[in-house]
């Protein structure tokens, strides 16, 4: 079949559905309807947020002491945040709503060694983090100044995950200062996606490190996951610096000047795309992925969710979609001049 573009595909779907014979309105209107006394399992409205759910559990619980007790246990056991600390050993820490540790999971063999003597059950996250850092230092994973630590926190509640990043970051800094160590400490509050989870599992790295790699790839799609996953964090940062990725865009380094020194280098020109056919453009150069992303992020500072170089009759343009502050931006750039061809905000 011919090569369809997205718009055409969507149109075909719409046409198909529009043609479907749906002739049920009269049937519905002729039904004798019995009004329900209360919602059943079918019509129950999903609660607005987890807070409402907890509140409703609570009001039930207030009625019976047993319930209250159960709820407490429930609350202590329920995972709330996931915290990842990567040096090269990677550990995953799960905490409950009270920020007590309920699970400590080594991601790789090196990490198993690090955590094997750590008692974590029911201890506060700060204490456990401190013990992990001690153990990392004892095992010589943090010795050189250019060792890199990556702290990642996931919580459904963005505010909470930011707060935890801050607090755990402070804990780690303090511990490192006490031991006169000065590695580069990067921190991020992360989003959850099945793909990142899957890849993390597949390659045996933490979700935190995988998120970092994913973000590198978003900023430079020529990077390959397989080539990055086995590299150490310091190597990943070297690579990012070498190819001109602005690390501050994907991670918080706490303005560590070892990271944030602006790298002013000519942007790599990426002309792989126009060497097969078109003659007109042979002499012209594409502005390159990185430049295109910079222009796009200049228009909408958010997360690039789609990035494509599109060819239409020998004419190249970058199509970029960015999500920022809950809005979706569609941006099209002339691939040779960087001129903004389209800038749409979707609300």
């Amino acid at each position: 079949m011919k090569n369809l573009n997205d718009r055409e595909i969507l149109n075909h779907i719409k046409n198909s559905v529009d043609q479907a014979p749906i002739d049920i309105l009269d049937n519905i209107k002729n039904q004798t309807v019995v009004k329900m006394i209360k919602h059943d399992d079918i019509t129950r409205q999903e609660s607005k947020s987890s807070k409402t759910t907890l509140k409703s559990i609570m009001s039930f619980a207030a009625a019976a002491a047993v319930f209250l007790f159960m709820f407490n246990i429930f609350q202590f056991r329920l995972p709330d945040s996931e915290i990842y600390i990567d040096v090269n050993p990677g550990v995953q820490i799960t905490t409950n709503r009270r920020d007590d540790v309920i699970k400590l999971l080594p991601i790789n063999d090196e990490a198993a060694e690090i955590v094997k003597d750590i008692e974590f059950k029911g201890k506060e996250i700060e204490i456990v983090t401190g013990e992990i850092v001690d153990s990392l230092i004892d095992n010589n994973y943090i010795s050189e100044d250019d060792d890199v630590m990556l702290l990642s926190v996931y919580n459904k509640d963005l505010e909470k995950s930011k707060r935890q990043v801050r607090e755990i970051n402070d804990t780690i800094h303090k511990k490192l200062d006490d031991n006169h160590k000065n590695p580069i400490l990067l921190s991020q509050s992360i989003d959850k996606s099945n793909t990142v989870d899957e890849f993390a599992k597949k390659y045996g790295v933490s979700v935190g490190k995988m998120t970092f790699i994913r973000n590198m790839i978003i900023l430079n799609p020529e990077l390959k996951t397989e080539e990055l996953v086995d590299l150490s964090l310091s190597r990943l940062i070297e690579i990012s610096n070498d190819i001109g990725i602005d690390i501050e865009k994907i991670i918080d380094s706490g303005n560590d000047e070892r990271i944030t020194n602006p790298i002013v280098e000519p942007l790599p020109v990426d002309d792989d795309y126009d060497d097969d056919n078109d003659d007109d453009n042979e002499s012209r150069h594409l502005i390159g992925n990185i430049k295109a992303m910079e222009i796009a992020l200049g228009l909408a500072n958010g997360k690039i969710v789609d990035f494509e170089l599109d060819e239409d009759d020998g004419y190249y343009k970058y199509e970029i979609e960015i999500v920022a502050d809950g809005y979706e931006y569609e941006i099209e750039l002339d691939a040779y001049t960087g001129e903004v061809l389209e800038f749409e905000k979707d609300d």
């Binding site: 079949m1 075909h12 043609q19 019509t43 999500v323 979707d346």
Partner: protein
């Protein structure tokens, strides 16, 4: 500011979805048939697209649609406005489908997975339309189908789709793009489905 935390910001909850005025439910509760018709016309194709992406069968989709609207009529007086009317309609439709599955009602539509049975979409006159729909139903997973079908049919924005099917905007968008890539690739390579309709 971290680049990728920005998308986690909470979305405003007061979006109009498919322009359904939540007051319609109140009127339906008062047996206002015109309100029911309004709701029906606003949501007919959207609900069809949603259900078709779940059950992949025209007749079964119609059956559940009908049950859904009837269920709305019998429970509209219980509806609490939360700014997500479409999400509620979808929830009812999905629950009805699950409940049908549990009751074994599925047997009526024996071959709902057999997409190759082209009699099922025989009402689609344009061959390309049919091939694309078949491709969507055949190669995408359920979430991808919902996202692509709703986007194509409903006129909803990605963020509204995300809200109504309970996914994050960023997840919805990346699934949407992956799904369209899959479709394009499949159409170019000409999967088995293609030969049958040539």
């Amino acid at each position: 500011m971290l680049l990728f935390t920005m998308v986690m910001n909470d979305e405003p909850n007061n979006l109009k979805q498919n322009n359904i005025d939540e007051k319609l439910f109140k009127r339906i509760a008062d047996n206002d048939m015109q309100a029911l018709e309004e709701l029906y016309h606003l949501t007919e194709r959207t609900l069809y697209a949603y259900l078709l992406s779940i059950v992949k069968n025209h007749d079964e989709t119609l059956d559940i649609m009908q049950q859904t609207y009837i269920k709305i009529m019998s429970s509209a007086h219980l509806y609490k406005p939360q700014g997500k009317p479409l999400a509620w309609i979808f929830t009812i439709a999905k629950n009805l489908h699950l409940s049908n599955l549990r009751k074994g009602k599925k047997e009526i539509y024996l071959d709902s997975d057999e997409i190759s049975n082209n009699a099922k979409f025989s009402y689609i006159t344009n061959n390309d339309d049919k091939i694309v729909l078949e491709t969507v139903l055949k190669i995408l997973d359920q979430e991808e189908r919902k996202i692509v079908m709703l986007y194509a049919v409903s006129g909803l924005k990605h963020r509204e789709i995300a809200e109504s099917i309970g996914l994050k905007l960023s997840t919805t968008l990346s699934k949407y793009h992956r799904a369209l890539k899959k479709i394009r690739k499949h159409l170019i390579e000409g999967g088995e489905g293609y030969e049958e309709f040539k």
